[in-house]
């Protein structure tokens, strides 16, 4: 087990190194070079030269890369050109909002997706199946931000069931402990704050969950269909096992293997979707940081978000691989 973990970790290192090299190259290829990009409107030839010296951009390229890597490894991504604050601290503050949103979205997608996919497979070709498949196809074809606006216009503005934006109502006085507002409310026993935060979460989480939900339904359906036709399910039926046993022990156990990999891949979709959803719901998380960085050309922040986003994605998939090895005895550690 430990050897497997170490080997997979060792495989991640070159990927991350290469990624840092790409991001480094990306920074170097910014229009006018990094210095003018960092300075933005304030760029004058003197200032650029000055900054180049300060940033070490007059040094040989490999020295520059070494320094860049050193800074990145120590968590120094520089200061945001918008706020002047250290990028890492900004990210740290925005992270709980996005994590809260993404986790709920993923929970929705998994909790609905697996049963729906199973149901569709079991009634293959029937009305439930056809409706589900059409639903998933439309689900991936709807632009996320448009869906967000639709939900907001209907459920928040028209019906008034949920708040249209933000993470907490202004009149709710919540104590900040962890930054996760739902959790904070529970910790400080301010349950009304938790409830308020949850009601704010519903619409953006549903919008964000749509695409992962559609993907999980389709993979589950395909996977269950595949397993239902397999020889060992036939064996299980030939043993006269109760339908419930066949379903949980034989069909689902096997069908969920590919689904678990897919769930890992969804984290990438969630990160990307968060950028769009957060903008719609004025969420103030990582996605908002990213959207602002794009509009205002905040390269240090962009660079940090890019690297960290990829890091999270790679680590989550590593985690998925590990859990796969635990569920599937054929993958030997």
């Amino acid at each position: 087990m430990l050897r497997f973990v170490l080997r997979r970790l060792a495989q991640v290192v070159p990927t991350l190194l290469l990624l840092s090299l790409l991001v480094f190259a990306w920074l170097r290829s910014l229009p006018g070079g990094p210095a003018s990009a960092f300075l933005g409107d304030r760029a004058t030839p003197e200032r650029i030269a000055e900054l180049n010296r300060v940033l070490g951009l007059d040094q040989p390229i490999f020295v520059q890369y070494g320094r860049f890597l050193g800074r990145v490894l120590t968590g120094d991504f520089g200061a945001s050109t918008i706020t002047g604050q250290p990028v890492l601290a900004e990210i740290g503050r925005a992270l709980p909002a996005t994590v809260e949103l993404s986790v709920l979205a993923l929970v929705i997608a998994v909790a609905l997706g697996i049963p729906l996919g199973y149901l569709a497979a079991q009634h293959r070709g029937g009305p439930v199946d056809i409706a589900t498949v059409i639903g998933t196809l439309i689900g991936v074809a709807v632009p996320v931000f448009f869906l967000g606006y639709l939900l907001k216009a209907f459920f928040a503005v028209e019906l008034g069931w949920f708040p249209p934006s933000g993470r907490l109502s202004i009149d709710v006085d919540a104590t900040n402990v962890t930054g996760f507002v739902v959790l904070d409310g529970l910790l400080t026993r301010e349950f009304d704050a938790s409830l308020d935060a949850l009601s704010h979460l519903v619409l953006p989480a549903v919008a964000l969950a749509t695409i992962p939900l559609a993907v999980i339904v389709r993979i589950t359906r395909a996977s269950v269909l595949d397993v239902l036709g397999s020889d060992f399910v036939r064996t299980a039926n030939s043993k006269g096992l109760a339908p419930g046993t066949v379903r949980s022990r034989h069909v689902l156990r096997n069908a969920l293997l590919p689904v678990s990999t897919t769930i890992g891949l969804q984290v990438g979709l969630l990160l990307a979707g968060a950028v769009l959803t957060e903008k719609v719901f004025v969420w103030g998380g990582i996605g908002t940081l990213l959207a602002d960085a794009i509009t205002l050309k905040d390269y240090p922040r962009l660079q940090a978000l890019l690297l960290l986003g990829a890091l999270v994605y790679v680590l989550v998939n590593l985690l998925v691989d590990l859990s796969y090895a635990i569920i599937d005895p054929r993958v030997r550690l």
């Binding site: 991936v140 632009p143 931000f145 990307a272 769009l276 959207a291």
Partner: protein, 307 residues
């Protein structure tokens, strides 16, 4: 009556002995598949509209009309009226003409982004799959890294490199997303070809390496890549819309493109929702069309799908 089963038997054997290739068999199956037909019809209509748009659109995309502009106030955008069947947009232009003309730009963005990604991906995948060894290792490491970045994030970082956003940067950004996917797919498919009997036979017969790769391996390996390209056409259009929404889209105010129109219309959603709904529905239908066709193509080419 004896002829009926005799001829039936004959055609059945002819079917088998005529050596019909898998692809023509797949094509035959596709033509009877309602899903594929729906997808193909949607795409067909879309392409025809896009091709004829300049002819059927009554007005230009950038043309503003005083009749529409006069009634343009904060909180009010003129609806359908004489000469303007869908009303005006936020700048007093003919919304109907813009919807039609936008089909062309949307098709252009989607197709160009996919084709560029496809070509680069095919080159990388062919090199990796055909040569193996360190060429393969290096190329696949790079694609792995690109795949490690969530696709929209990748498109964003490419688009953000440009000094100012334009249609070209959108196309390139969306194309980059497709490259690692196409390359990986083709490489995997080529690898399975490399060890197949007909490739070994061709090599044994002394056929030169490039000829083996281009004539024997590539044509047999390209199937899954084409399927993916069809599906990518759908995501390319959606990604382009997302970039527009984030302010990384085409900066040309005169240009009509559905993603762009949808992104711009978000600010007028409560004033005139039609401005968002029409482009959104157009995008959904077209993306659905490509997805339907792609999925049924995949099923038709997959030998497992025939059961």
């Amino acid at each position: 009556m004896s002829t009926t089963w005799a001829t039936r038997r004959k055609t059945r054997i002819d079917d088998l002995s005529a050596g019909r290739s898998l692809t023509s068999e797949a094509f035959r199956r596709l033509r009877r598949d309602p899903v594929a037909l729906t997808g193909a019809t949607i795409i067909g209509v879309f392409v025809v509209i896009a091709a004829l748009a300049p002819l059927i659109a009554p007005h230009g995309a950038a043309e503003a009309f005083p009749a529409l502009q006069e009634n343009l106030r904060p909180g009010s955008i003129p609806g359908p009226q004489d000469g303007f069947p869908l009303g005006g947009d936020q700048l007093g232009r003919d919304f109907y003409s813009r919807m039609l003309l936008a089909s062309q730009q949307t098709l252009l963005v989607g197709v160009l982004a996919t084709v560029i990604g496809l070509i680069v991906g095919i080159v990388i995948g062919t090199l990796a799959g055909a040569f193996g060894g360190w060429v393969d290792t290096v190329l696949m490491r790079v694609t792995d890294v690109l795949l490690a970045v969530p696709s929209l994030l990748l498109a964003i970082s490419v688009a953000a490199l440009a000094a100012s956003p334009s249609q070209t940067t959108v196309i390139i950004a969306v194309a980059v997303v497709g490259v690692p996917i196409f390359a990986r797919l083709l490489r995997g498919s080529m690898l399975s070809q490399r060890d197949s009997d007909h490739v070994i036979a061709a090599t044994a017969l002394g056929v030169k390496r490039p000829a083996v790769v281009l004539r024997h391996m590539l044509p047999n390996a390209i199937g899954p890549v084409i399927v993916q390209a069809t599906l990518t056409l759908a995501t390319a259009i959606l990604d382009a819309a997302a970039l527009s929404f984030l302010g990384l889209g085409d900066a040309d105010p005169g240009r009509a493109e559905w993603g762009l129109m949808l992104a711009q219309a978000q600010s007028y959603l409560d004033v005139r929702p039609a401005l968002a709904f029409y482009p959104a529905i157009a995008i959904i239908v077209v993306a659905l069309g490509f997805t339907l066709l792609g999925e049924s193509l995949r099923e038709a080419l997959d030998p497992k799908g025939s059961r």
